[in-house]
C-alpha cells in the first residue's frame, strides 16, 4: 500500500511526511498538515515520524476522504477572484503579491519555482487558464 519506498527504515523525517501525504492523493493546507503531523509525531519530538503511528492515522484520512484535491474549475475560479477585471491573466507582480502576502504565504523558493514555470517571459504575465491546463496534464 505504501507507495513510498521506505528503504528499510521504519521512520521518516517530519518534512517528508507532507510529501507522502500529498502524494497519496490528499490536498491539505499547511495548517491542516501541521495538525496532522502533531497527531502522529512522538511525545518528545525527534524530528522523525514512525510508520506504526502514521499508518492508522493516514488510513483514517483516506477512508474519510479528508483533504480532497481541488477540482480544476474551482481552481480556475480562485484565479478569477484575483483577476476581477477578467483580463485572463495576472501580472507577475500581482501573482507574487498574492502568493507571498496572502493565504499561507509561499517561501521565496516556492515563489521562484512557480514563476519559472508559470510566467510567460515576454509579457511577464501568467495566463492562468493555460497554466492550469498544463499542470493538470502532468497530474495524469
Amino acid at each position: 500500500m505504501m507507495p513510498y519506498s521506505l528503504k528499510g527504515s521504519r521512520s521518516r523525517p517530519q518534512r517528508e511526511i507532507g510529501t507522502i501525504i500529498r502524494s497519496l492523493g490528499c490536498c491539505p493546507s499547511e495548517g491542516e498538515l501541521h495538525d496532522l503531523i502533531a497527531e502522529v509525531e512522538e511525545e518528545e519530538p525527534t524530528g522523525y515520524i514512525r510508520y506504526e503511528k502514521f499508518l492508522p492515522v493516514m488510513t483514517e484520512v483516506l477512508l474519510e476522504r479528508r483533504y480532497r484535491p481541488i477540482p480544476e474549475d474551482i481552481l480556475l475560479r480562485a484565479f478569477e477572484v484575483l483577476d476581477p477585471a477578467k483580463r485572463g491573466f495576472l501580472s507577475k507582480e500581482e501573482l507574487i503579491k498574492y502568493m507571498t502576502e496572502e493565504g499561507e504565504p509561499f517561501s521565496q523558493e516556492e515563489m521562484e519555482e512557480m514563476l519559472s514555470a508559470a510566467i510567460d517571459p515576454e509579457s511577464n504575465t501568467i495566463h492562468y487558464k493555460d497554466y492550469i491546463a498544463m499542470m493538470v496534464i502532468d497530474e495524469n
Binding site: 519506498s5 507532507g18 510529501t19 502524494s23 493546507s29 493565504g103 499542470m135
Partner: protein, 749 residues
Amino acid sequence: MGSGSSTQHHFAFQNAEKAFKAAALIQRWYRRYMARLEMRRHCTWSIFQSIEYAGQQDQVKLHNFFSYLVDHFTPSSHNERDFLNRMFTEERSPQDSEMEKSSDYESIEVPDSYTGPRLSFPLLPDHATALVEAFRLKQRLHARYVLNLLHEARRHLVQLPNISRLSTCYSEEITVCGDLHGQLDDLIFIFYKNGLPSPERAYVFNGDFVDRGKDSIEILMILFAFMLVYPKEFHLNRGNHEDHMVNLRYGFTKEVMQKYKIHGKKILKILQDVFCLLPLATLVDEKVLILHGGVSDTTDLELLAKLDRHKIVSTLRCKTRKENKKPAEEKGKNNQMSSAGRPSPWFLPQSRSLPSSPLHPSAHKAARAGRSSSVPCSVAPDPKELSRQVRRSVDLELERCRQQAGFPAIEEKEEPVPSASEAEEQLEPTQEEWRQVVDILWSDPMAQEGCKANTVRGGGCYFGPNVTERLLQKYSLQFLIRSHECKPEGYEFCHNRKVLTIFSASNYYEVGSNRGAYVKLGPALTPHIVQFQANKATHKLTMRQRISRVEASALRALREKLFAHSSDLLIEFKKHDKDKTGLVTLSDWAAAVESVLHLGLPWRMLRPQLVNSQTDNMLEYKSWLENLAKEKLSHENIQSSLLETLYRNRSNLETIFRIIDSDHSGFISLDEFRQTWKLFSSHMNIDITDDCICDLARSIDFNKDGHIDINEFLEAFRLVEQSCSEGDASDCPRTTNTNSSACSSPGAH
C-alpha cells in the same frame, strides 16, 4: 441609511477575504502538485540507484565465477591449459616493473605534427594549468607524456603514507571533492569556480576519478599533474573504482584502449600499479577523516596506517596469505600457496583447495545473516565434517561444467604442490588487511544502529550512527567526509551531522538528475558546501521539465530490465493466473515484477508509467510483454529469448570479452567466445542451446576469419547503450502529444 463608506468597507472586507481564500486555495493546490513532483523524483532516483547497485552485484557474481573456475578447473589437456593461460595469466613480478620504468616511454617518439600539450619533468605549475586548458579545448595528450606522467606519479606515490595528513595551518582553505567518474566538465567547473590548486588552496579528491564518464584519463592526468606540482597541498584518496577489475566493467579500460590504440595496454598496466599506490585516506588537523566509502565496526586506523597498500591490487578479489597467527576466528577463504606448476592468475586469488579443507562450491550464494563477513568470498565451513561430501559435490559440479563446455573428461587430477616460498608470501596481504581496505572503500552509512554486510554492493558494510560515534571517539575525530554515493543535491549529512557525503559528478544518471558539490574547510573546520550543475541546458529547464526528462531516462532503463527478464516474468504471471484467463490484477502485476527483479521499487506507483494497456484493473500480460519486446527487436532472425538473455547479461558479456581479450586487441576468437560462454552460462544456469550461440557467433564474424570484434558484437545487437537524442530541452509536453520520443512517458495523454 448606512453610509456609503460602511458598505464600501463591507465590500472591501468581503473582497479581501475572498482574495485571501483564493490565494490559500491556489497555494494548497500548488504544494500538492510539488509534492507529487517530489515523489516522482524520488521514484526515479530509486530506479537508477537500484539498477546501478544490481549491476555491481553482477560484477561480484562474475568474479565469483572466475574464481570458481580457477579454483576448481584442472586443465587436463594442452588446449585447456593454453586456453586458461591465455585467459588468466599475465606475469607480474616486482623486478619487471623496475626495468620497464624507463624503457616504457623514452622510446616513444612524438611526431612534429603533434599539436597537443607537451610535458617536461619536473613539472611546473604552468604545465599543469596548461594541461587543464588543453583538455578543455578537447586536445589529447600523447601516449609518451601519459606514460611519463604516470611513471613520475608512481615514483611520488610510493613514498606517501597510507593516510595523508593535511593541516589548516599551512593551507588556509581545504577543498574536498567527491566522485568525478570521468566527467571532465565537472572538474573544470570546480577549478573555474573555486580556483586552481595552489599552496594556499589545498585540494583533496576523494576517489572514483574514473569509469562511466568519457574523460577518465584526462581527469587522471590533471590530478596527477597537480599532485606532482603541489605535493604538500594536493591529495588523492583511492576509491573503489581505482581498480583495474572494476575498470573492465565500467568503461575506463575501454576508454583507454579507444584513445590509445597502440600504447593503451602499457598505460593500463602501469595504472594498475598506480591505483594500488594511492593513499587510502586523508586526515585534516587530526580531526576530520576523509575516505571514499565509509567505516565498519572493526575499522582500525592503526592497522590501516601500517599495512602495505601496494599489495592490495583489487578490492574485488584478492590473494591473501595464510594467516598463521589467527586460527579459529578466520572465517574467510582458505588461503593456500600457489602450486609451482600452475600459472598464477594476475587478478584472481590463489586459493586452491587441498583435500583437508575444501571450499563449498556454491557458498557465494549463501545468504549472510548479520555481520559475518564484509566481502563477497566463499565461506569455509568446518572442514573436517564436510570435507568428503563437499569435495565430492565439487567434483561433480566441476565435471558437469566441463562436460557442458565441451571439454573432455578429466583423466587424472593434478595434485597441487604446495610450495612454501617466502618471497610469494610477502606479495600478499592478510585477510584482515584486505578486509579493512574493502570496508573503507565500499561501505555506506545507514540510519539504523549497528553494522551489517553490504549485500547491495557486494562489498563493505552498512554502518550505523553508533559505529560512527564509536570511531570518532576512539580516534578523537570530529567528523567524517566520504563519497561513494550519488546524492540529488550533491551532498548529504547524516548520523547527526557527523558524516558528510560529498559527490562531485553532476548529472550523474542523466542530465538534470542531480547536482554536484564540493566542501571547503577552514581552520574552524566548519564545512562550507558549494553546489553546482555543469550543464547549461539544465538551468533553462524548470524543475518539472528536469524531473520529466530524468524520469523518462529511468523508465527507459527500467523497461529494458523488464524486457531482459521476460521469460521469468511470464512464468510468474502465469502463477497468478491459475484460471488461464490471460489476465492478472494490477497488484498481482506489482508482486510478480518485484519477485523477479528484486529491485525494491514502488511498483504500484510506477505502474501508470509502465503499463498503459489495462482495462478494469486487469492486465493482459502476454501482450504487455510483447510490447516490451517490440522496442528491442531489431533483428527478426534472432530469437527474442536469446536477445533477452544477452540483454540481461550484457555487462557480464562485455566484461568477459575484455578479460579474454587479454592483449586488449579488441578481438577474441570464436572458439574462446564459445567456450567461455558455455562455461559461464552453465554456471549461471542460463538456458541457451549450444547451436544458438554458435550461430550467433558465426553471424557476427562478418569477415569469416574466426575472430569476433568485441565492439561490433555488442553494437550489432544494441547491447551498448545508445545515447539518446540530446539537445531537445524543450521536449517535455505542454500539450498532449502522441509521439513517444525521448522524454514523454507513454502513460501521458
